[in-house]
Amino acid sequence: MPRTTLPLPILIAGLITGLPGASFAVEPKPLDFNTDIRPILSENCFYCHGPDANKRKSKLRLDIREEALKKKAFVPGDIHASELVKRLYSKDSEEVMPPPDSHRSVTEAQRAILKRWIAEGAIYKPHWTFIAPVRSPLPANGEKNPVDAFVVEKLAKAGLTLSPEAPKATLLRRLSLDLTGLPPSPEETAAFIADTSPVAYEKQIDRLMASPHYGERMALPWLDASRYADSNGFQQDGDTFQWLWRDWLVKNLNEDKPFDQLSTEMLAGDLLPNATPEQKIATAFNRNHILNGEGGNIAEEQRYVSLFDRVESTTTTWLGLTVACAQCHDHKYDPITQKDYYQWMDAFNHVKERGTPSGGPTQTGGRSRFRLDTTVVEAPSAEQAAELMKLQANFDTKNKAFFTLQNTAFANWLAKPNKDKGMLPKEIEALLVPDKKRTAAETKKHRAHFDKVVFIEERKKIPGVMTIDKAKAALDGYRGDVLPRVMVMSDDMPRDTNILDRGAYLSKKEKVTFDAPGFLPPLPKDAPKNRLGLAQWLFSPEHPLAARVQVNRQWQQLFGKGIVRTSEDLGVQSDRPTHQELLDWLAVEFRESGWKLKALQKLILTSKTYRQSSHITPEQLQKDPENKLLSHAPRLRLPSMVLRDVALASSGLLNGKIGGVPVYPYLPENPWESLAITKERDFTYPTSQGTDLYRRSLYTFWRRTIAPVNMFDSSARQTCRVRTATTSSPLHALTMLNDPTWVEAARVLAQSVTKEQTTDEARLARAFARVLGREPSGKEPALLAKLLANQRAVYAADAKAADALLVIGESKRDPKLPVAEHAALTATCLALYNLDAAVTRD
């Protein structure tokens, strides 16, 4: 590269180091270790010269300044004496760093930056998210809302401004979808437009936050984080009752339980003083994981799979760190040691559980569709509790009479024990000496043997025994197949936790107990060394991560992307934040104001930044193509679960019932056929009837082995996910064009607007408003009219096709509507659901 075309940093470096041929007039801002240096070192050097002692080459580590200086990797202020510089520029393939076979490379610009940093004194700083956040002073730019103050500051530097506020209709749709996942009705939009009071917008926020559907929308990312499903996964894929946790979640989000309490209950609800059943149910967060029930598997091995999963899920969710590497070795990038990892795991290692699900002790046979592991909380409804009592009483009455008979039989057997001699276990036979004085323990052993072995045959001879068996089967069946019971955490099982060599569960090394990772603040002094202590530690004021991680994810939910894009990782390898001062300011605010999620959201929602138009100008596209600076509101493709809800709500089909057992809405014929080859259980899809077909998406039964096919781009619920990608595939389009869910919604919407309005124009406008939340404008009315006219021509000429289209879906059609007209408008409404403006949140 000829020197005259060197980029600026090199020119600067050239001057500092006294190389000829460069000059500049601007005093550059000193380089920042976190912004400029660490990303280069971390990506290219730390794998071999970082925190992991086992993989460390030449005993050199570059993540700690003193260590690097000791080995003379660099000499502050003197690039010529710095080994690092020599290695970066070496032509010798044995010497050059990073080595060619590492598939890593440092660009010329990066090398120049490193040189300049050394020239400036090679100053280190701890990774920014490992230091507790502080509030920076708000930029004095006249913006009242802190969100705007920070955003506008950055925009101004790039020569950009916020966009004007979005039209009111757009704003209400945005707000409704973000807060409840449901579209506004035309009436709600009209009321908002008519409301000219200065607090009109805030009133809408309050109204939507008070809706019971708020908790449903807020629950969606939590379901992904806790890898929630309604079945275990793997062979048999037994169903579970974990939906009780889902209901707990929705309820508590609706009540705005402060985030620290919400989290404490999820992590350690069972350990709270006088824990309520609800607080125990909250801990199912850590029991929602995949469970392997394959024949031949090794239960203890599987239990460790669950433990690893709990470590992964809790650290990703609350620390925004990934620690899985430390399962086998010290972390390559973050200062997490293998010991830190297993100390953390100890908190989750005391559940009374096997590691693999089974039919459970109360169930009859292994054929139940439910399969659970142990430590459960039973949560019967009032009706179920009553039914259970009834069944229990029925059994008890019948059994009581029988029990007397059984006692007599036992006495008789004891009296003449010799008749079974020779067929008895040695231990029992030894005790069968009629004149021997037996201890109580010996009698107990006898009785156990008698009940289990001898009496099995004897009892068949007793009259009435069939009715007792039936009562028992009814009771067990109810307990097994109906009575809801959710797998939860407990600390009932004392177990040692050891560091595992390379993560292999049989290779136990040093014993450890729970403690906080060494590079983060220590546990509060009086905190217990268990999950409750973990929660107390997380929400202590000096904790650098808990608030930041959650605020970042709230931001991601409202803007599509986090302030740190890699919301699952705020560690050393994370993306640089787009607005670090804003994130830190909000994190402090969130903690200091009592961890209130609704308050945090309201602060963001009332900002100009959130309220601005999503229209994009060529200037914005050119200056900030990724909209990192937020010069306009992001346009977001709605999650598929929300898209389905929008179709149901806008057509009027939605059954807004909150919570309860999962439902089985339309899926393509026999959706579980690839599992149905097993003889171990029935995998017929039990399609719901009536209004259960139209419940919100989060109530759809989620089979872990085969997710509902129309919920595209969702997390597969195999492992914890806090960020899901939105993609564009023709299969998504086919779903929304052809799935009976959308076709039926279109038919019902068409029928509804036909009855409400009398002209084509009014009907089209109404349908448009119900789906898109606004009136058609510009050329849209004409284009809609053309759409309808063309479909009218199709169905006027083909009555059979119209008939066929209109019978899709279980809901009844009003037979008085003319068939061809109804079909034409149905096809039109189906098109509306598929418009970019409909699938996108503007």
């Binding site: 390898q573 229209h615 080859i677 097993t678 479909q791 066929a804």
Partner: protein, 489 residues
């Protein structure tokens, strides 16, 4: 609104945009016959994918994985051990068995008695490769095959074993190989899914080896890289058919009017993503033609149909899926994953199940290889045949009941590969005379993955995805390319 858009995807978008503005109306009228020609062109210029990939000239452009679920018995089919016959009923020495981890079904056995192959072996072709007489069709193409007799896995059970080969980890959650290839290399035919999965169960429906979605998961890669499973009932691809009462013409008309509204919106909003939406719906419309065309066998000559065997026209059978796999390969689909169950022969290996499995899979597997070859596709299409492990050289259920089957065995087992740059008529690796330990050229699962990626022109250590602050790859932190099986190393 793609999560991460690579430069080549941007390029694609731009081209597509100009293509669309040339006339959306025209696309629907493209004759089906010309689809194939267009696909051939796309094969030369894949759409999507990462810049810099492939890393070097690939030998394979597509792969068809003929997954044999349950674990076929290597000692009965591919790895002849006369000593097991000679020592039948006698114990396999403890010195041979070592500390091998066995499933909890046989780990407690007092004795591990030798059981020889249930049917004789035979030398096949001019290469003289030994295989069971139970595989006459496979035997007949022995000179095309590369047999690997030194496969090795740590998994002791099915789902972890399958997950291990498909995703590089025994625990579900990582992207599968097909997803990695779709992500790294893009698609050669946008009108069909780039990663197709088909499943079939054995005739007797003997076992519970089920097909879980995580076997074709996109893991942490963007959702569009997930495998698309062709279903045996209803629409082969979910929702590919129009609803009743919507004809293709009516749909075309509706899409045209819909796209006009989208373009109007684009004018108002100025978001280039709306262009992506428009093309997404056009691709969907084309896929609605491509899928039925794919599955329409009416132009297949009788001789070809007969080659695949009597099941070929029965949807959902292995033979039927094999023929579809060939048609997918012709259309440029990158990765086709057939999954067949029924090899988990704990207690029915001798009672007809092994023989039945061979009958169900032998002819069609061989036909696929021959068919690809006669069309000139074998050179750059990789065919891989194998399961999650092999089966124990000792018998299961021998206590009291006599020998009826064998347990899971991952320490050593056999696969075969064909085409796509592997050595034909060649045997790689060997086991000891009990078929227990590998004595030569171990091929661990990660090594096999590294090798398959290599054949696609990919350095397995260089196809990475940054997730949770770490660079993930299919082969985790291991894997070496098995140079020995490459036609040209």
């Amino acid at each position: 609104m793609d999560f991460e858009l690579s430069p080549s995807e941007w390029r694609t978008r731009l081209t597509r945009r100009s293509f669309l503005s040339a006339g959306v109306q025209g696309i629907g009228a493209v004759a089906l016959g010309s689809l194939l020609a267009r696909d051939a062109k796309a094969a030369a210029n894949p759409i999507g994918g990462l810049p810099g990939l492939p890393h070097f000239a690939p030998k394979a452009k597509r792969m068809i994985c003929l997954w044999q679920g349950g674990g076929p018995s290597h000692v009965d089919l591919f790895d002849h051990k006369p000593l097991l016959e000679k020592m039948a009923g006698q114990e396999i020495p403890a010195s041979v068995r070592g500390d091998t981890r066995l499933s909890s079904m046989s780990s407690g056995y007092a004795k591990y008695n030798c059981v020889g192959a249930i049917k004789p072996f035979k030398k096949w072709g001019s290469s003289g490769i030994e295989m069971s007489e139970m595989l006459p069709f496979t035997g007949a193409i022995a000179d095309e095959l590369c047999i690997v007799r030194s496969m090795n896995t740590e998994a002791v059970n099915h789902a972890p074993g399958v997950t291990f080969f498909m995703t590089g980890s025994q625990i579900p959650g990582r992207p599968s190989m097909g997803a990695w290839l779709s992500y790294g290399l893009g698609t050669m035919n946008e009108d069909l899914p780039s990663y197709v999965v088909m499943t079939s169960s054995d005739t007797a429906k003997t076992c519970g080896q089920l097909f879980f979605e995580h076997y074709w998961s996109n893991g942490f890669l963007p959702g569009k890289h997930q495998g698309v499973r062709f279903r045996g009932v209803g629409d082969p691809v979910p929702f590919v058919g129009n609803p009743a009462g919507v004809s293709r013409d009516a749909r075309r008309t509706m899409l045209d009017d819909m796209q006009a509204l989208n373009r109007e919106h684009l004018g108002q909003v100025g978001d280039p993503e709306i262009d992506t939406r428009i093309s997404q719906y056009e691709m969907a419309f084309r896929m609605q033609a491509s899928v039925p065309d794919l599955l329409d066998f009416k132009n297949e000559p009788k001789s070809v149909l007969e080659m695949y065997g009597p099941d070929v026209l029965n949807p959902g059978t292995f033979a039927n899926n094999c023929l579809i796999a060939r048609r997918l390969a012709e259309r440029g689909v990158r990765f086709t994953q057939l999954m067949h169950s029924g090899w988990d022969q704990h207690n029915n290996l001798t009672t007809g199940q092994l023989a039945q499995q061979c009958l169900d899979t032998d002819q069609a597997s061989a036909a696929l290889v021959k068919d690809l070859k006669q069309r000139g596709l074998l050179d750059d299409t990789l065919v891989v045949w194998g399961g999650e492990f092999g089966r124990t050289p000792f018998g299961q259920n021998q206590q009291g009941q006599g020998f009826k089957g064998r347990d899971h065995f991952g320490r050593a087992y056999s696969w075969w590969l064909a085409g796509g740059g592997v050595k034909p008529g060649y045997v790689h690796g060997a086991t000891d005379e009990f078929g227990w330990n590998i004595t030569k050229d171990r091929v661990h699962i990660h090594d096999m993955q590294a090798t398959l990626m290599h054949l696609f022109g990919i350095n397995h250590e260089g196809l990475l995805f940054r997730y949770q602050g770490r660079q993930f790859r299919l082969t985790d932190v291991e894997g070496h390319v098995v140079k020995g099986i490459l036609k040209q190393a």
